[in-house]
Symmetry: C2
Subunit: 135 residues, 2 copies
């Protein structure tokens, strides 16, 4: 088995790094804004390429997560890039609904670290209470 | 010990997620270009804040890695952001030397995934053979 495996071409991205899960950054394809970081396994990566929409692996739900499946905030994939080590994925996306963050902000990175603590640097663009059904 | 720990305020970023290592994205503060993704533990994060320069934890070398310590390609930190879950760090940086990637490219994300395979979409800005000493 190892012999057979070793003859396979090197795979990029290499999901064997990170125990099958690699970080995937989503960036606004137009503005360059970093929207979020999710994780992908090989199945979610394949599904992302097949759909042309971001599909992550949710570590908390332990299943594939088609981003926007509940909120409608789909990420249309404009380009997929991989880093030099083949262990990080960068998606350049069109963010539907104007927001990536489940807390209602355009980007999940809406807080800046300052000497006085965390400073919220963005305004929410939707109300999570109206977007997500009660559990 | 556990009782004491549980009384501590929730820490952001929360290094207990990811077994003490969190992904840290470095983004060009001016252009928004995503330059690389590294990992940080609490010590490298503290060192980053203290120096105002990116200090990662190198998983391959198993030690703190002051980015640019060998190449001179220091990352001057302009802003530190954290995501909604407190488990990803985003550094907005000024990349000295014009390049983040040890392979000589401005960004580590210099390859795009296409139906025909990987397509190199950038030109190298330095020659790694001249920048790094032979091991």
């Amino acid at each position: 088995m190892l012999t057979f495996m070793s003859k396979l071409p090197a795979e990029i991205p290499d999901f064997s790094k990170g125990d099958g899960l690699l970080p995937a950054i989503a960036q606004d394809a137009e503005t360059g804004e970093v929207l979020m970081l999710g994780y992908m396994n090989a199945a979610s990566y394949a599904e992302t390429l097949a759909r042309g929409e971001a599909v992550y692996f949710s570590r908390s739900r332990n299943r594939l997560w088609h981003k926007g499946e509940e909120s409608g905030h789909i990420q249309k994939v404009r380009a997929v890039l991989v880093d030099c080590d083949g262990d990080t994925i960068l998606l350049q996306v069109e963010q539907l609904g104007g927001a990536a963050c489940h807390q209602g902000y355009r980007s999940c990175f809406f807080r800046q670290v300052t000497p006085d603590g965390l400073n919220t640097i963005a305004e929410p663009v939707f109300d999570p209470a109206k977007t997500y059904k009660a559990p």
